[in-house]
Symmetry: C2
Subunit: 258 residues, 2 copies
């Protein structure tokens, strides 16, 4: 019964309830046993995106397998902001970075989007999901973001739910400063609604035809992020942070959630 405070935090698929047994995947067992050196009785924190966060204890652990038993709930599941991030993938480490940071910053769904100037041709969604999972375990989030299959910008817009506002970072001069646009939304001026998305472009920005595509959609609001040219990942993070600060769960009085 050492380590009263959990030294590890894991996402699991299994239901969590008092006394529930949770079998570990081989990689989780290896991580807890060989890397964290936990043994029977040691505490681990678990979440599954549905049942809150639980304190569990190691029941048994051996080569490549292990079992935990959930003991008590430490945090109840609570509603989280409904914020999608659609982003043009950048070179591999940039995309990893966007996914990790977007998870910390509370994005609920990650949608890779191919645009005219998108550098990378392929996106491995398994890699994105693995990065998101690791970030969620570390940042004490109670859920994982969903990872969508990559689509073209046109397909993204054609299938975009009309009731979900899409805030687009337009580095060559969007319509409005980001703080002003977000504050207007928070004050209910016209577009008050619960579901949001953010779209950030590739290095080099959107192509002219793409800007036309965006301009034609009633759910799009283009915003500016100042006079310097931000890297794609910096723009994504900045917009997520500003959104969380004004409309999301960083605020004192966030919008009501479903």
């Amino acid at each position: 019964m050492t380590h009263l405070r959990p030294k590890a935090r894991l996402f699991v698929e299994a239901p969590l309830a008092g006394g529930a047994a949770v079998d570990l995947s081989p990689s989780q067992a290896k991580y807890l046993g060989a890397v964290m050196r936990l043994g029977p009785g040691d505490a681990v924190s678990l979440f599954n995106g549905r049942d809150g966060e639980w304190l569990a204890r190691v029941a048994k652990i051996a080569k490549g397998q292990g079992r935990l038993v959930a003991e008590r709930m430490t945090r109840p599941q609570s509603p989280e902001p409904d914020l999608w991030l659609a982003f043009a993938p950048v070179k591999k480490t940039g995309t990893d970075f966007i996914v990790q940071k977007a998870t910390e910053l509370g994005a609920s769904r990650l949608l890779p989007v191919f645009t005219r100037h998108t550098a990378s041709e392929r996106v491995k969604t398994e890699r994105l999901a693995a990065n998101a999972l690791e970030a969620a375990e570390q940042c004490e989030r109670l859920s994982l973001p969903e990872v969508a299959e990559p689509v073209s910008l046109k397909n993204l817009l054609d299938s975009w739910p009309g009731a979900r506002l899409l805030i687009v970072a337009d580095e060559r001069g969007g319509d409005r400063p980001v703080a002003e646009a977000l504050r207007t939304l928070a004050e209910g001026g016209g577009w008050r609604q619960r579901a949001f998305g953010i779209l950030t472009g590739p290095e080099g920005g959107f192509a002219p035809g793409e800007l036309d595509l965006l301009a034609g959609r009633p759910f799009v609001v283009r915003v500016t992020l100042g006079p310097r040219i931000l890297r794609a990942e910096t723009a994504a993070l900045s917009l997520l942070a500003c959104w969380q600060a004004v409309l999301g769960d960083w605020g004192a009085a966030p919008l009501p959630r479903p």
Copy 2:
């Protein structure tokens, strides 16, 4: 006279004026000649932090040396936000990342701060300065941030200018949500002033004694960045972005600058 639009952008120390000759450093000459393959007559964009941005032409370039001649000003020097970023260095790539992103996000001065939980013992300010320079060249900024020598948190606070507000990201529950705190400042409620600083802690946060140190300073405002635990670099970026959006040059009506 090919490449009418500059393919390269460089920071130089030399004064910039019509007809001014600018001698390149060996590494700049190598970059323009061997990497970018520029030759006589090709255009390069230059800035020095004082004289605006200039279109220059290659006059001569050879192994390890070269000369440009400034032709015409393309952007005047303009006032920039006075925002310092004091940050606890994290592992090497994390620190590189903070410096690069803080430069894009317009920090005017970078101050590495050693705290109780700071992982790295050493900071190479030359490395920080080189990262800042590269980021400034890429993001079309007209200045370089200053890079200060590392100090302890106590020394930072003891030498902090009393008229400069220090906004501290406190991940275990600061006084106020960040957007509310920034908006109050923007509206002139009490602390309206022109000079600001941001302080972000190490992984693991500030130690209790350090929080006491911070609480005793009248220029400190502690803010929260939501319910998830952000990595040190994510907190720094998020706070910089929110500051720029509300009080800095991302806004429609920024504070007047000196």
